[in-house]
Symmetry: C2
Subunit: 324 residues, 2 copies
């Protein structure tokens, strides 16, 4: 059994069982992968992939178990490299962060500015994507950190650390009839066409929950995955916008009015997560700390010593998180 063989089977799965595109992705030849995969299967005496003629159609149940462990192994190989790098050049390396639009556009910029100034030798990459894409990226080991506000069930294998609470703002154009309103209820809100996030993005489910709890059905006129598109359609008068408060830019959004929400929506939580097997470089601890100042190295390590995300949530109930 060779490490390359494990890499190959994992990457073949990552490339949806397409060996050719896998080969392209690994800058190697397609027959080489094909052969190594078969050699591994021969050595183990089990099929990993089910072939229909000359196409790989699916992964056997045995194969799935093997793939899972192979991922662990490759991740630990990376850990060894990280340990070595940490001792030779502690400030040099790379950091991949997967997150959603709102974080990438409104929250991360000033943190990243500071980070790259402090660690000029660390190459930092932001993968922006849907919660599902983020979950895939991190479980495949393509990225170190996931920052998420939604669909935490996708991240169950990860260590998820709460970073801050946040809530929504209701936005309307300055000329809108609600623009001067001081108090707004959820019932009133439900009378207007709404423009907000697509399902599964940036706290959409808590939004639905609030309407459902109040027993009213909102009229969703339009949804988008990011706040800038929502703002654009609000500006066009398509409806009342509901976006994350941190997505309001006080300088650029002068033509929009932010109404007080009076806590009609419950708080959402933004969390940062990583695989438990990840070896955390010191600059990674620092990144976490810069993103959420209460997440000290010791606190992160303590969370790592806990088994489940439930225990972690309990632990963080004792710590007051900032509200954005």
């Amino acid at each position: 059994m060779k490490l390359q063989q494990l890499r190959y089977i994992v990457e073949v799965v990552n490339h949806n069982l397409n060996v050719s595109s896998t080969a392209a992705g690994l800058y190697t030849s397609q027959p080489g992968i094909s052969k190594q995969v078969r050699m591994l299967e021969d050595e183990l005496g089990v099929q990993i992939f089910i072939r229909s003629g000359k196409h790989l159609t699916s992964v056997t149940s045995t194969g799935k178990e093997i793939i899972r462990i192979a991922r662990d192994i490759l991740s630990k190989i990376e850990s060894i490299k990280s340990i070595a790098a940490e001792h030779t050049c502690p400030d040099k390396g790379s950091l991949y962060v997967a997150t959603t639009y709102t974080q990438a556009r409104y929250v991360l910029p000033h943190i990243i500015t500071h980070f790259i100034k402090k660690y000029p030798q660390v190459s930092l990459h932001i993968h922006q994507g849907s919660p599902k894409q983020i979950a895939d990226s991190i479980s495949r080991g393509n990225v170190n950190f996931a920052i998420a506000t939604e669909a935490f069930h996708l991240y169950e294998d990860l260590l998820m650390l709460p970073c801050y609470y946040w809530n929504r703002s209701i936005i309307v154009p300055t000329k809108h009839e609600l623009a001067t309103k001081k108090n707004i209820t959820i019932e009133e809100l439900s009378k207007y066409p709404l423009v907000t996030y697509t399902f599964g993005f940036t706290g959409k489910s808590e939004l639905d929950q609030a309407f459902s709890n109040a027993g009213v059905t909102p009229h969703i006129a339009f949804t988008a995955t990011d706040a800038d598109i929502i703002k654009t359609y609000v500006r066009l008068g398509l409806g009342v916008g509901i976006i994350a408060s941190m997505a309001i830019d006080k300088k650029l959004d002068l033509d929009l009015v932010q109404l007080p929400t009076n806590n009609i929506f419950s708080n959402s939580t933004t969390k940062i997560g990583f695989r438990r097997t990840t070896f955390l470089r010191s600059y990674m601890y620092d990144f976490i700390r810069q993103f959420a100042s209460h997440l000290t190295r010791d606190l992160v390590n303590h969370a790592l010593s806990l088994r489940s995300n439930k225990e972690i949530d309990v632990m963080f109930q004792k710590i007051s998180l900032p509200i954005k």
Copy 2:
């Protein structure tokens, strides 16, 4: 980085930094190992071993971390092989058990008899050794299971499952003046020279505890690591023997009298343990079950889902263990 390189550094550590004996153990040449170790160090850019001239004297702190992860990786490689074997020939494989004399001599025989009859294709190996040797064997990955009654602090990295409670018996030759005594107290016992286990073997610390709690100092005339030697010296009249009750053979020990201990010693627990990363073959689950019938496959899996051995102990407080 190659798997062989990881195997080499781990085995070099296992062989007390002696590359020559490592080479012999791996049936390969000594320069080959030497070179691969150096190549790995060059690739990682860190020293793993500290050399004084041409001798390896110790492992660097970085090296220790790397060794630990390398062991994990190699263990997972074995898991993959096990998964494959489980699907091709579920009843074929090997099982290594490390344990102390008392288990190997008095408890395991009838279990093993049954096991090898049920799984003739599984090659079963018993490593008998001191608690320290057992702990080394399992942490090095030489054995699958450790069965232990003592010094559980040595096994902290393992999943330890309680199997049964047991206690000691006091034995004297039939002609001894205590032979007809019905009730014996710990104070009386302390007046006689005692023959019992060496420190660190088969529940010696609970024994000391009992004397210490009673405020008396026992006179230990002789200690040995196994019950048969203790019996021999009891037969010679060297003193009163205190051994594990299961080490009394009703047929062979007719010349010895077993006195009622009246609960003057507290119960000890025998546990079976394995590394959490071990992939458990179905015959391994079955072995555990045969050793401790309450340890069903589901219960073992549930214990595996718990984080710490403390949680496991709590879990087993709800389950009544047999007493031997």
